[in-house]
């Protein structure tokens, strides 16, 4: 046995020992095979829509409106990326304190100043987050209008419509909670309205305000922390699941066209 052969055998044994252990337990070959077949299947096509199939000529003006759901999803991805970057620097603490100059401030507002002035490209990231949010909400609203006017919520798509309504209100919730995070005077105005509206419901009002805003009085409540919790943990957790379900149902049931 030459040196070359013995080295090769050694290598083969080592390979079997190291990767064989994994392969014995997690056989990856069938999955790799399936993936390769999936990629190599020829004539992978996006199926024709009803209008394309039957060469309909008069409803073309609805077509640009069919991309609105996708636009809102792309905006959501952009929001996720920029939101993660902002999360590195943002401090969710809205308790006010006085500077030595006698001026009022709070840690959340300070961290926003830091993001805007000191973090490299911080103002770009925050601007993208801000404008993508507006784009997403506008796209979601227009998407709902399109679904309404083309009657796409009808049988068999009622469940998907309900998921969409939930997603619309979750999106508005994202916008509202995000609006409260900078802890500036506008946040205080919006939080005042929100807390008062939540409190005014009989019997459950205070409980509701306590749950959503973390308190029932605007001047003593650190609502910023609770809004951060909604904005960063709860709402994304629910909405991502619902979005996937929403799109899976569109895939299963097909796109509804007016015909």
């Amino acid at each position: 046995m030459t040196l070359r052969q013995s080295l090769w055998n050694l290598f083969r044994e080592a390979n079997r020992t190291l990767f064989g252990w994994v392969k014995d337990r997690f056989p990856t070959a069938p999955w790799a095979d399936m993936t390769r077949k999936l990629i190599e299947t020829d004539q992978r096509q996006v199926p024709r829509s009803h209008a394309e199939k039957y060469e309909l000529k008069t409803i073309w003006y609805w077509y640009p409106l069919y991309c609105l759901g996708g636009i809102s999803f792309v905006a959501f991805i952009l929001l996720t990326i920029t939101g993660i970057v902002l999360g590195f620097y943002y401090v969710p603490d809205g308790r006010v304190s006085y500077l030595s100059t006698g001026k009022l401030t709070n840690p959340a507002y300070d961290s926003m100043i830091y993001i805007m002035n000191t973090v490299p490209f911080g103002f770009v990231v925050r601007g993208l987050h801000h404008w993508s949010a507006h784009i997403m909400i506008a796209a979601v609203f227009l998407h709902m209008c399109r679904v309404y006017f083309t009657g796409a919520y009808k049988k068999p798509r009622e469940l998907n419509w309900l998921i969409g309504v939930l997603l619309l209100f979750l999106t508005l919730g994202f916008g509202y909670t995000g609006y409260l995070l900078p802890a500036n005077n506008l946040s205080d105005g919006a939080a005042t309205i929100g807390i008062n509206m939540a409190k005014s419901v009989p019997y459950v009002g205070d409980l509701q305000a306590q749950l959503v805003f973390g308190g029932t009085d605007i001047s003593t409540t650190n609502y910023v922390l609770r809004m951060y919790w909604w904005h960063v943990f709860i709402l994304p957790f629910i909405s991502v699941g619902l979005m996937l379900l929403h799109m899976a149902l569109v895939w299963l049931q097909g796109v509804a066209e007016p015909h």
Binding site: Y54, I71, A183, N184
Partner: protein, 427 residues
């Protein structure tokens, strides 16, 4: 030979029609390739969106305002998408705030404006949730479901817009002191949504080729009667005023703008009525502008006419003429979609071909002549157009209620009109 030609046409492997009218039919349709066509198109859209966000960021960097100060009264400007809720909260002041006594050991409470605002904000949510279980009809097309579409226009767009507008009522009253009356803004919650509902309903019925006459005449007549009555009421209440003549002239002009479409659509044929509506509205608008300029030039001041007469009553004397002109126009115009719009509903089940008696006796039928299909594809070259008996057997079996023979008769009328113009020659 003719049979072969027709057969070739019908059984052509055209996109969208791989196999026609037989047991061999398959629904496999060629689509666009996923890579690269669809992928690149999606990528371009995504890049456009990202570029738009960057552009907006560079253009308007979001402001930080001043840090929160719990000791101060907060400055309230919500983002645009929750303005409607704030507007409803402000509107809630017109509702009563009753004290509800405690029952079953529960404490008493008061239904405040905050509660009504919360309650009104949830009404859109409830409407959206119950929608698919209330509207269970089959029609998908907006023009075929005019009630739903008109409700959408008036509720989703007009009502939401005016609810949002009311959230800044104090700014509006400050900027345009001539309004100076909050009730004028409150009226926008009810008037414009209702009027836009009626106008959209009439216009969409027209677009969907539905019977029109009373749907057009009743709202227009009502608009005329309300405008005329309200103008008379205004003139009787302002008493002897130096500007009485001017005000009467303006109100008369506005009433004339409502009477023209109403009378025209009631008594004239459609084409003439449309012409009368458009011409009268243009003429009266120009006359109104001229009158206003003259008034503005010669009169001591337009304040009384606008502040006391027009602005508080704009929900009738200004809104209804606009409503009349728009409703008259959309209810009378020729729909831009033709019969193709109705034929396009066809999903080619082939039932019409099965029952068509012409295909049983005509020689061409053996080669697969299909009257409906050929006229739908505009490939009839006169054969299906003139062999059709207009017996309506196809419409009777059509699962989508497409009135094929109406289309045939319309096409024949068109051809006959054309040949009459050409001196009665055969085409």
């Amino acid at each position: 030979m003719e049979v072969d030609r027709v057969q070739g046409k019908v059984f052509e492997e055209a996109p969208g029609f791989p196999t026609q009218y037989g047991p061999e039919r398959s629904d496999r349709q060629p689509g666009s390739p996923l890579v690269p066509h669809e992928t690149y198109r999606d990528l371009v859209s995504i890049f456009l969106l990202v570029a738009m966000s960057f552009f907006l960021t560079a253009w308007i960097v979001p402001s930080l305002e001043t840090p929160r100060n719990p000791a101060q009264t907060p400055f309230i400007v919500p983002d645009w998408y929750v303005l409607f809720s704030y507007g409803l909260l402000k509107l809630a002041e017109i509702l009563p705030e009753p004290d509800v006594p405690g029952v079953l050991g529960l404490p008493a409470f008061r239904l405040t404006a905050g509660f009504w605002g919360f309650f009104l904000t949830n009404i859109p949510l409830i409407i959206l949730v119950v929608l698919p279980f209330v509207d269970r009809g089959r029609e998908n097309r907006p023009a075929k479901a005019p009630l739903r579409s008109a409700f959408g226009v008036s509720f989703l767009f007009v009502w939401m817009f005016f609810a949002s507008m009311y959230s800044v009522n104090n700014l509006i009253l400050e900027k345009w002191p001539v309004i100076a009356d909050d009730n004028v803004l409150k009226a926008f919650f009810f008037g414009p949504p209702f009027l836009s509902f009626v106008a959209a309903y009439v216009g969409l019925r027209r677009l969907g080729y539905s019977p029109m006459y009373w749907y057009r005449v009743v709202p227009l007549m009502a608009a005329f009667l309300i405008t005329a009555g309200h103008s008379a009421y205004i003139l009787s209440t302002i008493g002897a005023h130096p500007q009485w003549g001017w005000i009467a002239a303006f109100l008369g002009l506005l009433t004339a703008m409502t009477i023209a479409p109403a009378v025209a659509s009631a008594y004239l044929p459609e084409k003439a009525a449309l012409r009368a509506t458009v011409l009268s509205s243009v003429f009266l608008s120009l006359l109104g502008v001229l009158l206003w300029l003259t008034f503005w030039y010669y009169s001591p001041g337009p304040a009384y006419a606008t502040e006391v007469v027009i602005v508080p009553n704009m929900h009738t004397v200004l809104a209804l003429p606009v409503f009349s002109v728009i409703t008259g126009y959309v209810g009378l115009r020729r729909p831009y979609s033709t019969y193709e719009y109705l034929l396009n509903e066809c999903y080619q089940c082939g039932k019409c071909h099965t029952v068509c008696p012409v295909t049983k006796v005509e020689d061409d039928a053996l080669g697969g002549l299909n009257l409906v299909y050929n006229s739908f594809k505009k490939e009839h070259d006169g054969v299906p157009l003139w062999t059709c008996l207009a017996c309506d057997a196809c419409s009777a079996v059509c699962p989508l209620d497409i009135q094929y023979s109406d289309y045939i008769l319309e096409e024949r009328a068109k051809v006959m009109g054309q040949s009459a113009v050409d001196g009665g020659e055969e085409r």
